[in-house]
């Protein structure tokens, strides 16, 4: 009895320490985010005077007004969503199609292909050759220019290959083959259904990458109607920076001087919300076991 109570006491101390450690970590991670949200809803002058620390001071939607009154913000949002969804589907599909053959030991020339792929991780042609490729493929200034170049990230291929190697066992393949299953059928009926976890991971990586894409759009797009959100937001930031220009509209200058402080916070919020919304839905795949029951004995 005595022994058991002592156990409980140490347990309690232990969980107290762990919980307080986790709580402090939470505060450290959460505070900057809350600060950004608070600043974005505050009056610019209050932010400039460092009066905000946790809650919005003199609640003011002026920063959001500046963001959402921009004429391009709507198309920017829709474009970014389009690039994210389409780009993610294309990228995940291509990555899986590349990773699966590489995960099979009997694939002829596997090491050569792997090495070629790895080579691109270390060496690239550079911006100009890539630009020329995009132009000569005829996808310059079209949505494909954002989706196709860099559709496959080598790092993600390696992750996917390793996952498939470890989780799609040879026994499973052999069993299917004996029953007369073709390669493509195996890919569709076995590999994809069993790879929910890795597909979710890849989708998240690619979606975040597509959502944040900025430089590709600057280089390969010309039509304003195709610009993703990031370029629009960047323009909003630039237009509101404080410039020492002359004979200016004083009211506009005063507004911009204050806004240049808060608008960046509003822009962060606007740009992050879609990803924050998606994340919980994808996250559940990370913890779920998928291979239970596919091979017995």
């Amino acid at each position: 009895m005595h022994y058991k109570r002592k156990e409980l006491a140490t347990d309690r101390v232990f969980s107290l320490v762990v919980n307080s450690f986790l709580f402090i970590s939470l505060v450290i991670v959460l505070y900057p985010l809350l600060y950004i949200v608070a600043c974005s809803f505050s009056e610019p002058q209050a932010v400039m005077a460092k009066k905000v620390w946790l809650f919005p001071v003199n609640f003011d939607l002026v920063s959001y007004k500046a963001v959402f009154t921009n004429k391009q913000i709507g198309t920017g949002y829709m474009n970014s969503l389009y690039y994210m969804v389409t780009g993610t589907v294309v990228s995940v599909l291509l990555t899986m199609l590349l990773a699966y053959p590489l995960s099979r030991k009997e694939f002829y020339g596997r090491s050569v292909v792997t090495k070629l792929i790895l080579f691109t991780m270390l060496f690239t042609g550079g911006t100009i050759p890539l630009y020329l490729v995009v132009r000569n493929l005829g996808i310059y200034d079209s949505r494909w220019a954002i989706i196709l170049p860099n559709a496959i990230t080598v790092w993600n291929v390696i992750i996917a290959r390793t996952f498939l190697q470890e989780n799609i066992s040879d026994e499973l393949y052999e069993a299917a083959e004996i029953d007369g299953c073709s390669d493509i059928r195996f890919l569709i009926s076995f590999v994809f259904p069993l790879s929910g976890a890795i597909v979710a991971v890849l989708a998240l990586f690619y979606a975040v990458g597509q959502w944040n894409k900025y430089f590709d759009a600057l280089l390969y797009l010309q039509k304003q109607a195709l610009y993703p959100l990031q370029i629009v937001l960047r323009n909003i930031l630039i237009i509101n920076r404080n410039t020492p220009s002359m004979t200016v509209d004083v009211e506009a200058a005063i507004r911009a001087q204050g806004l240049s402080e808060t608008i960046r916070y509003a822009v962060i919020v606007v740009a992050s919300v879609p990803l924050l919304v998606i994340y919980p839905f994808v996250q559940r795949f990370f913890v779920k076991g998928v291979m239970i029951g596919s091979v017995k004995g």
Binding site: Q45, M48, A49, K50, K51, N70, K71, L97, P101, F107, T127, I128, Y131, L132, R135, L137, G138, I139, Y140, D141, S142, W144, L148, S182, D183, I184, L218, L219, Q222, Q224, I231, R234, N235, I236, I238, I239, N240, N242, T243, P244, S245, M246, T247, V248, D249, V250, E251, A252, A253, I254, R255, A256, Q257, G258, S260, E261
Partner: protein
């Protein structure tokens, strides 16, 4: 099996691309010869033509093709310009990419093509067209007239190979020519009963008094007598203070250009540097003393101008006494109480009598319009843009339509410089809201000093309570510069812009960068005391290191370039 799979996948991949490729093939239209009207008359061409110009688009212009000023130009000249817009931020990369792709527009507008790029793409690769022929009254009368107010401007535009590859942006910003300014919070001086300091000694006394005698009267020793920032438009205190010891054009921001503002100066007709002179050391020692005694805010060498603004504005009572900046908006909320009460002070007289205001030459901005060497419409494009260099063209491009945004001055109106005004502003210039009436930011225009200072302003004296309000900012800045800084400017000490050959730039770019970084870092270290400026050993080591970093060869190079251009 696998082979088929491979082929199927490859086809699936390439199919959409090839479809798109077919769609975007352009048909090369046959170009007919152009018939021009005599120079100086409009329209420029007898039958309308269309040219392609790639333009770096700032966010404040919605669409160059539907812009009202563009339409105006089209009606006036008969030339339809198809503007290909690319975001301003990507201009440098995009220029390189487009030139590499071999598919050029007729011209590039607003790319800020610098000297090095002009040498590469113009002199070496021949992708830009030399425009020497057009730099004459016969072709571009308006631009040549504007150049009269920029002496040496055409020499400045000329590349080292003798050709001119671009059209300039001509902007005479009078107050920018002496931008290293220092401002004092006047109520502090009044409270302490002290006069505006005129020498470094008096300055030191005022700083000390501000700190010790509770200048803001709140009973707390929270005053910050002097503050600046390292990132911002002439926000660095040393830019102002060192000039009471020796003429020093030094920007300590590590990211600043390695060619300019590194402390180079003219010394008896030769390029020399201030940074190894004993007087420079005295200046650093003076600032170090202020820093050690807590008179100079210790964040001044790490913060940027928005943090400086927070420092000035964040406290309930004002705390900052002196602040450095190109204008008051660098460190105070425009139009706020503190903004309205800061006053510029003239360069201080040093212990040995040095008293300078650094001269910033108002040179043309190079590379605003460059022509592809294979364009067939050079004459048309040149005449189209020449109109924009006239006062009317400049104001139309920059401010908007006559009668709406601006008009010629009425008789009796007075300009900023006290002379009869040339024009008046009806609508304030605003680059903060996207619009489609004008181009707002001028690329090819001439805001000459006479036009800029010819802006009608309300005549008022400094006693008028409205004098220091932001609405009168233009006039305040002009007066401050004219009265307090111009008298101490000595343009013969400032090094004019030097041009280097391709080999010279290539050979010295790393050397100059390393040298500039070392000078900038050391200056800050001396000022904050991490290098002891009063220790002869440390100072001698610094001077020796400058030599190791090839200071002498850099100066020799600059002297060669100087002799080539100016003798």
């Amino acid at each position: 099996m696998k082979k088929t799979l491979c082929i199927v996948l490859l086809v699936a991949l390439l199919l959409p691309a090839s479809l798109v490729a077919q769609g975007s093939k352009e048909s090369a239209a046959a170009k007919s010869t152009v018939e021009y009207t005599p120079v100086g008359t409009f329209p420029i061409v007898k039958t309308p033509i269309t040219v392609d110009i790639m333009v770096a688009q700032p966010p404040c212009v919605e669409d160059y093709n539907t812009n009202r000023f563009t339409k105006y130009m089209e009606e006036l000249t008969g030339i339809k310009v198809n503007y290909i817009m690319i975001p301003e931020q990507a201009a440098t990369e995009k220029l390189a990419l487009v030139l590499a792709s071999g598919d050029y527009p007729d011209a590039f507008l607003g790319f800020g093509v610098n000297n090095t790029l002009e040498t590469t793409y113009g002199a070496q690769e021949g992708l830009f067209m030399p425009l020497n022929k057009f730099y004459s009254k016969e072709w571009m009368p308006n631009m040549m007239k504007a150049f009269e107010e920029f002496p040496g401007g055409i020499g400045f535009m000329t590349n080292i190979d003798g050709n001119i590859y671009s059209l300039p942006r001509l902007e005479g910003c009078y107050h920018c020519s002496n931008q290293a300014k220092l401002f004092v919070y006047q109520p502090f001086l009044d409270k302490l009963g002290m006069k505006m300091p005129t020498t470094t000694d008096e300055f030191y006394q005022v700083l000390k008094a501000m700190k010790e005698q509770d200048a803001n009267g709140n009973g707390k020793a929270d005053e910050i007598p002097l503050a600046g920032s390292i990132i911002g438009w002439s926000d660095q205190v040393e830019r102002f203070l060192l000039n009471s010891f020796i003429y020093t054009d030094l920007d300590t921001n590590i990211n600043a250009n390695a060619d300019d503002n590194v402390g180079y100066m003219m010394n008896n007709g030769k390029v020399d540097t201030a940074v190894n002179k004993p007087a420079f050391r005295e200046g650093l020692a003076f600032i170090n003393k202020l820093y050690k005694e807590g008179l100079l805010y210790n964040g001044s060498f790490t913060q940027d101008s928005s943090q400086l603004t927070q420092l000035v504005e964040s406290s309930a009572q004002p705390v900052v006494g002196f602040a450095a900046g190109g204008w008051r908006g660098q460190f105070a909320t425009i139009g706020g109480e503190r903004f309205n009460n800061f006053r510029a002070i003239a360069p201080l007289k040093g212990p040995k009598g040095a008293q300078y205001s650094v001269a910033f030459f108002q040179n043309p901005e190079i590379g605003e319009l460059v022509l592809s060497s294979d364009t067939k419409y050079a004459e048309a494009i040149m005449r189209y843009f020449d109109f924009m260099y006239s006062p009317e063209g400049t104001l139309l491009q920059r401010n908007g339509f006559k009668g709406e945004a601006w008009d010629w001055a009425k008789s009796g109106q007075v300009g900023l410089d006290g002379k009869p005004a040339v024009w008046q502003q009806l609508k304030l210039w605003n680059d903060k809201d996207p619009q489609n009436d004008t181009w707002i930011q001028t690329y090819t225009a001439a805001m000459t000093p006479s036009l800029k200072n010819g802006l009608a302003s309300k005549p008022m004296t400094q006693d008028n309570p409205e004098y220091y309000l932001p609405g009168n900012n233009e006039k305040t800045l002009f007066d401050e510069t004219f009265n307090l800084y111009k008298p101490y400017e000595d343009t013969s000490v400032e090094v004019p812009v030097l041009k280097y050959t391709a080999e010279e730039s290539e050979k010295f770019s790393t050397v100059k960068r390393e040298l500039a970084n070392y000078i900038r870092q050391s200056a800050v270290k001396f000022m904050v005391g991490s290098l002891n400026v009063n220790d002869d050993k440390v100072w001698n080591e610094y001077v020796a290191n400058l030599e190791k970093l090839q200071l002498k060869s850099v100066l020799d190079l600059m002297n060669t370039a100087y002799a080539r251009q100016y003798k």
